[in-house]
Symmetry: C2
Subunit: 149 residues, 2 copies
Amino acid sequence: MDDKLSLQQFLPYRCNSLAQRISVSLARIYVQKFGITVPEWRTLVALSEYGELQSKQIAAHTSMDKVRVSRAVASMTDKGLLSRRPCDRDSRAAFLTLTEEGLELYRRIVPEALAWEERLLAPLSEQEQAALFSLLDKLDLRLAELSSD
Amino acid sequence: MDDKLSLQQFLPYRCNSLAQRISVSLARIYVQKFGITVPEWRTLVALSEYGELQSKQIAAHTSMDKVRVSRAVASMTDKGLLSRRPCDRDSRAAFLTLTEEGLELYRRIVPEALAWEERLLAPLSEQEQAALFSLLDKLDLRLAELSSD
DNA sequence: CCGTTATAGTTTCAAAAGAAACCATGTTAA
DNA sequence: TTAACATGGTTTCTTTTGAAACTATAACGG
């Protein structure tokens, strides 16, 4: 068995390099223009979406590990973007919410992020866009299956 | 304009987290089982595919920057996986090829990598797989357009 | 020719990331 | 109770990464 493999046809490579290029491109918006990092951006979105979350839940919603979340939360707290409310039931944990300032930042970034995504997706028809997301869903699902056994 | 954005519907996030999960999963093969890193793996594939390349060309074929390539090449040279042949026309550059040992490693990894990919893609029909790659192609293309202006 | 500029590749430095150890609190079961 | 274990979150340490500086050579323009 002497298989040949072409990077261009190899899904892990294709996915990785696409994601990388997207990241770099998009980073220009929230890193350079708004001064936040990717983990901070994700945290911002998660909190705006769910209102009040513990770090652990942020991690779950953003596919980040707890260290990354911890650092993002710390830095955002410093910047005044979010505030912690202690949890009575469990003094180790804290509930986090966006401050008005955090929400304000969110409201300024989102339109730009969405506009950027729209430009990226512009050449794809509605059907293609739907197909793309559906394929991503299936792959996510499949990965979960594979890692569980 | 007060848009809402959901991470789950945001392509940059979806792409990134999928790529990340794929990487971690696949890394078990070539990192743990064969002791090479991702940049080394990509270099291995590029060289096996094109025969003899300069670092610069490896970079072009693998979407890695020259620093990453340089390190991969250095480490692979140490491990005896590739050999350099000086270039007459330009003494700064060198032509790189896989050694027999490098080829041997390649031949051992490839079947496993392909098998893994096949398992990942198993739930997708032929049409879906084709659609997936075609969509990735289009997005790659689009990114090139976007970054050029 | 010779000075400027470009290029191949390496090295250095600083930022980002993850693994593992850690701290403090909570939970469970003897 | 209280001893073992689990959990939320932080810190520490090491590895990976990329940007920028650097070295050496090549190409170009006057």
